[in-house]
């Protein structure tokens, strides 16, 4: 019981909005609704919800690197693409037997993290910061997009996996869990929904613990004043690199889940538009808070999709307007602004009641 309580306490802290029984009751309620939701919905809608959830991981990656760490990475889509293609190449070559797809997921995320170690090492230990970090990371993702887009010829293959240029790679096997009798294949509906929901809850809670730990303290300290952080004896570059790699792994996870969901991955997933959209979700939500990022991403994604389907061709323009409005009205994020406002009202009410 004490162990459980101390774990619970570590979920809360100055780096995350939302604490106390009120917040966690609401969290449990939302989770219960999310768990029951497939029972009241059809496979297509559930699959579409999985699509939304998949993007939350890349948004969280940006939240960690940019919102908490203060380094604006414009190229999270590079890791998204590397892991997505990685999963494709591995599973097309080695199939889905013996639970290999699950191993491929882990390997693909590890490859993205490894690339981040290399790129991050040169950036942070080369003291690249601020807008230059954004430029370098954007250049990397655009370069990867260009490179993959010209791999249409049959000479571009890894083993039996054709890279397929602009059309991208497709028909990789979905995630398959080995099971006595018949293996469980997680197609993009209920099965994948529960896996992705589970991963989402796990990642969200794990990041809450991490951000409220002494490590989280150090990375926000670096965001606030890197010189002071260094003069307290922290190797700033090392912490920036670790944060960058964690973010890259999350973006990679997003990429693998996206590939698994649609059974395809294309170069445009690393292009300019793809790279810019997560920035908008995170900025609109509230980049310096995990909960705001999750809510903001889901709301903006749903609105974007509704606009694209029912509305007009101007969904992207709307995204731009939304970003400008956020910067002007609530620079720290609209969702975070509303949550802080609700928090202040709650405090006032409790004080009055007390």
């Amino acid at each position: 019981m004490t162990g459980f309580l101390s774990l619970f306490r570590r979920l809360e802290g100055p780096q995350t909005v939302g604490r106390g029984p009120g917040f966690w009751s609401l969290f449990a309620l939302v989770l219960a609704v999310a768990l029951a939701y497939p029972l009241f919905s059809d496979g297509y809608t559930v699959g579409n919800t999985v699509y939304f959830f998949v993007w939350v991981f890349i948004a969280l990656s940006l939240c960690v690197i940019w919102g908490y760490g203060g380094s604006l990475s414009f190229g999270q889509t590079a890791f998204f693409g590397i892991a997505g293609y990685g999963y494709g190449v591995l599973t097309i070559n080695f199939g889905s037997a013996y639970g290999f797809t699950l191993l491929a997921l882990v390997i693909a995320v590890a490859i993205a993290a490894l690339v981040a170690v290399l790129l991050g090492y040169f950036m942070f230990f080369g003291r690249i910061a601020g807008v230059f970090l954004g430029i370098v990371t954007l250049a990397v993702t655009l370069m990867l997009e260009r490179f993959m887009a010209q791999t249409a010829g049959p000479e571009w293959h890894i083993g039996s996996a054709r890279l397929n240029g602009f059309n991208g790679m497709s028909a990789m096997p979905p995630l398959t869990i080995p099971w006595p009798g018949e293996p469980i294949v997680l197609f993009a509906d209920v099965g994948l929904y529960y896996l992705v929901l589970g991963l989402l809850v796990f990642v969200y809670l794990a990041l809450r613990i991490l951000m409220n730990s002494s490590f989280g303290n150090i990375i926000v300290a670096i965001r606030e004043n890197p010189e002071r952080a260094e003069m307290l004896g922290y190797d700033v570059r090392k912490y920036q690199l670790i944060t960058f790699v964690i973010g890259a792994a999350l973006a990679g996870l997003s990429g693998v889940l996206y590939t698994v969901w649609g059974q395809y991955i294309t170069p445009s997933s690393m292009g300019m538009t793809a790279a810019a959209l997560p920035l908008i979700w995170v900025a609109v939500g509230g980049r310096s808070d995990l909960t705001s990022t999750v809510i903001g991403t889901l709301v903006v994604l749903a609105a974007f999709q509704a606009l694209t389907i029912y509305g007009s061709q101007y969904a992207l323009v709307f995204m731009g307007v939304l970003l400008v409005l956020t910067v002007l009205i609530a620079p720290n994020g609209l969702v975070l602004g509303v949550m802080n406002w609700l928090g202040r009202i709650a405090t006032r009410l409790t004080q009055r009641a007390g």
């Binding site: 002494s214 004043n225 002071r228 307290l232």
Partner: protein
Amino acid sequence: MSLLELRKLNKHFGGLHVTNSVDLTLRAGEIHCLIGPNGAGKSTLFRLILGEHHPGSGDILFAGENITALKSFARIHRGLSVKFQVPGVFKGLSVRQNLEIALQSRHRGAELDAEIGRLLAFLGLESEQTQTAGNLSHGQKQWLEIGMAISLKPRLLLLDEPTAGMSPEETHMTGEMVQRLNADGMTVLAIEHDMAFVRQVAHRVTVLHLGQVFAQGSIDEIVADERVAAIYLGQAHA
């Protein structure tokens, strides 16, 4: 015994010779003040000691070890600590969290809470602990940063204008605090323009002028030195 030794330290910025063959020795346990007119190279000397700038030539020895090639954070681990000229606090975080970040590498759990409480009391910032550091007054920010610097329990504390922007009372209180820290065994090197503060705390004074050590001695010797008066004190008292 010397704690810090600068040997023939040189630093150029292009054609500008900011630090010119500086030799300086700090004895363990002393309060040493560094004075000199603006542009004398005082802050650059601090940045050289801290490893933020690297010297063109010369050596920096700390407790007998050559630290010239060490990174800043590694120098902090050896026992250096600093309060900057412009208060370097974590403006977006609470006062309490500022101190927690400074203390967390040495203390954990209940011990950490106790240390934060002790430091808040020492700094007189108990009632401001939940405030965002950016909202503190200038003087309070200075105190908070001094608190963060001393929380590392350094062997040598570097203070760059610790009393800038403080009232005479606050300046005197800062002086007393520095003396208390010194009595506990901390060696202090302070850049300061406020001569009342220098007179209050300094065991020895070094005058820097145009990147060179111009004079050195007790405060009375420095004040009596007519050459110093001509370049610095004379202007200050004019």
